[in-house]
């Protein structure tokens, strides 16, 4: 049974990473108004919220299976960052990223209660969380040295960086226009 859970731990961790990347890509496409004519913005934002929620569900599943697989982690190791005795840095990054995901997802639903700037700052926690997840996977992942994993992560990084680049360039362009018009 613990072997089955161990394989599910590995696969759910990888799929959670893909879902997080997909949510971030969707978020950049939506916020950068790069969604095109075919899909309305509300479609992009709804899909973005769905992907974020699923990523959180898969991350919880990843934690539960990791605990159930009898890998030597205590409950406290996956609750309090920095106290795990094995792979301390990688586990700490994973725990912190999990908390960042929780905050990001659960502040999306009561979004209107926050001031927009505050909500936006909180929501941007998802970006360092994604980086922490990448490092966590690279350091701890059993499959992180396999060719298919490296190829998948390179493709995923490229897919995230493209809309991120569009978003940042759009932001800079609008700031420049504001600057010149002022």
């Amino acid at each position: 049974m613990s072997d089955v859970l161990w394989f599910l731990t590995r696969s759910s961790g990888i799929i959670a990473t893909v879902l997080i990347a997909a949510a971030i890509i969707d978020g950049f496409i939506y916020s950068g108004r790069e969604g095109g004519q075919r899909m309305r913005p509300v479609w992009w934002v709804d899909l973005h919220r769905g992907l974020g929620g699923y990523a959180l569900i898969f991350t919880v599943f990843h934690l539960l299976t990791a605990y159930g697989a009898d890998l030597g982690y205590r409950v406290i190791d996956i609750i309090i960052p920095g106290i795990s005795k094995q792979s301390t840095l990688a586990v700490t990054l994973g725990v912190l990223a999990f908390y960042a995901m929780l905050i990001t997802v659960f502040t999306t639903w009561p979004k209107r209660r926050f001031r927009r700037r505050i909500w936006h700052a909180i929501h941007l926690l998802s970006l360092p969380a994604a980086i922490a997840i990448g490092v966590h996977g690279w350091q701890m992942g059993t499959d992180s040295r396999t060719g298919w994993y490296i190829a998948a992560m390179v493709v995923l990084t490229g897919l995230v960086m493209y809309p991120a680049g569009l978003r940042v360039s759009g932001l800079l362009r609008s700031r420049l226009v504001m600057f010149w018009n002022a």
Binding site: V18, A22, G50, Y54, Q86
Partner: protein, 213 residues
């Protein structure tokens, strides 16, 4: 002249703004009462999802991918394990990359317990089992039909990552061996391949000890 069916034509023809305002308030109140009596099927309590189909597809794809990937990883692990078992059966001793290892499984058996399935005392070295990162070989010391010491004279150490992983994993596997007293030891997170090969080599050493008893 307003166009026919213009929704604002009655606004234009309202007698005074105050009359119009009271009329709109009355309409609004009537609408609220109507909503209270006959609430719509999709009101605020049930959110409508613009991307419902895509979300469902994403969730389905994620679940199927997780299960499929778990099955693939299991399959890959099994095929790796069968290669190792073949190696163990033929008792091939792999050339040690960085560690000095006994050239063949050795035994310095001293006493033999009476039970056929108990372990014979002595030092026993299991067959090296291959991982994709290098071979793993386990040596055990049996005393009084109990495993009193275990070590891994051979493990993947060709690169810094392997060294750092196995520096942590091997002591845990050794400790687990002494606790379990059999090859059913807990795998170490982040050292799956080493753990799997360790178990196989350990089982090989235990089998040799049993065979000698």
């Amino acid at each position: 002249m307003p166009a026919p069916n213009d929704p604002y034509d009655d606004i234009v023809t309202s007698p005074t703004p105050d009359d119009r305002l009271s009329e709109l308030s009355a309409r609004s109140a009537a609408r609220r009462r109507e909503l209270e009596l006959n609430p719509p099927r999709h009101n605020g309590s049930k959110r409508r999802h613009a991307a419902k189909g895509s979300r469902t597809a994403a969730l389905g794809l994620a679940v199927v991918s997780t299960l499929g990937m778990a099955a693939y990883l299991h399959q890959a692990s099994q095929s790796s394990g069968s290669a190792v078992l073949d190696l163990a059966t033929t008792d091939t001793t792999l050339p040690p990359p960085n560690a000095s290892v006994p050239s063949s499984p050795k035994s310095t058996s001293t006493t033999k317990p009476s039970g056929t399935k108990s372990l014979a005392d002595g030092n026993w070295t299991g067959a090296a089992s291959m991982t994709r990162w290098g071979p793993v070989q386990v040596a055990i010391t049996v005393s009084g039909s109990k495993i009193t010491a275990a070590s891994a004279p051979l493990y993947p150490s060709d690169d810094n990552r392997s060294i750092s992983i196995n520096r942590i994993a091997i002591p845990k596997l050794v400790q687990s061996t002494l606790t379990a007293q059999n090859a059913n030891v807990n795998s170490v997170s982040g050292a799956t391949y080493t753990s799997a090969s360790y178990k196989i080599s350990l089982q090989s050493a235990i089998d040799k000890s049993r065979a000698a008893s």
